[in-house]
Assembly symmetry: C2
Homo-oligomer: 108 residues x 2
DNA sequence: CCCATATACTTCGCCTGTCAAGGTATATTT
DNA sequence: AAATATACCTTGACAGGCGAAGTATATGGG
């Protein structure tokens, strides 16, 4: 991974919610998708990913259910809740704002 | 403060280095400056600020010396080192890159 | 048939950065 | 005399990221 964790910290949840905005999915696939989207430049560590799922479900932003695959490993699917959609939009706005702020602060 | 810390986390060091790029300064003033530049939207907590100074000095990116004020509270001035200047540029590039990455990942 | 690999999820414990809270000291203003 | 502003410092708690290890199923190669 070429990007420092602290750069992504605070965005992990948003990244997950963003993925679930386009439909239910499961951990392994979401991580693959992240890796593909960034050309392999970034991927969430498994521990980070699953910790985030617990957190987001705890907060009511996502819900989960076991898939009914009759082959391969079992999958736990995640679904974004209405509260999660709202939170996602809030996070996006916060990103826009903080992006400008950081730009101001780190360029002299 | 209206911006979540986790959004700024990972940029604290860069923010400090950026300030020192335009000359030596001291903690209190740097924090004031941050607050002013962002229209009061953001300021580093003192503990965070001084922790960062220790870290940056430890890493050789800044050096410090006591000011010779003959009035008012004493001030510890910080100076960016050549290694710090290099690090600052590296951080700026990383920001450009991660900015694009995050943008890609959080917009569906 | 066995072993490596890919898929898929989970838990434990460490590390690091943030920050609330409290403390010290000096100078100015009320 | 007390409040406020300037200026710095330390301690301990907390949260998120993540290395490491484990569990379980399916598939392809030798």
């Amino acid at each position: 991974m070429s990007i420092a964790s602290d750069m992504i910290r605070g965005h992990t949840d948003t990244i997950i919610l963003a993925h679930l905005m386009s439909g239910d999915s499961y951990g392994y696939k979401i991580n693959r998708s992240i890796s593909e989207k960034t050309g392999g430049q970034y991927e969430l560590k498994e521990a980070t990913l699953y910790t985030a799922f617990r957190r987001l479900e705890q907060l009511g932003f996502i819900s989960s259910y076991w898939g009914d695959e009759n082959t391969g490993a079992r999958r736990r699917y995640y679904s974004i809740t209405p509260a999660g959609v709202q939170e996602y939009h809030r996070m996006l706005e916060e990103w826009e704002q903080s992006q400008r702020l950081i730009q101001t602060l780190i360029t002299s």
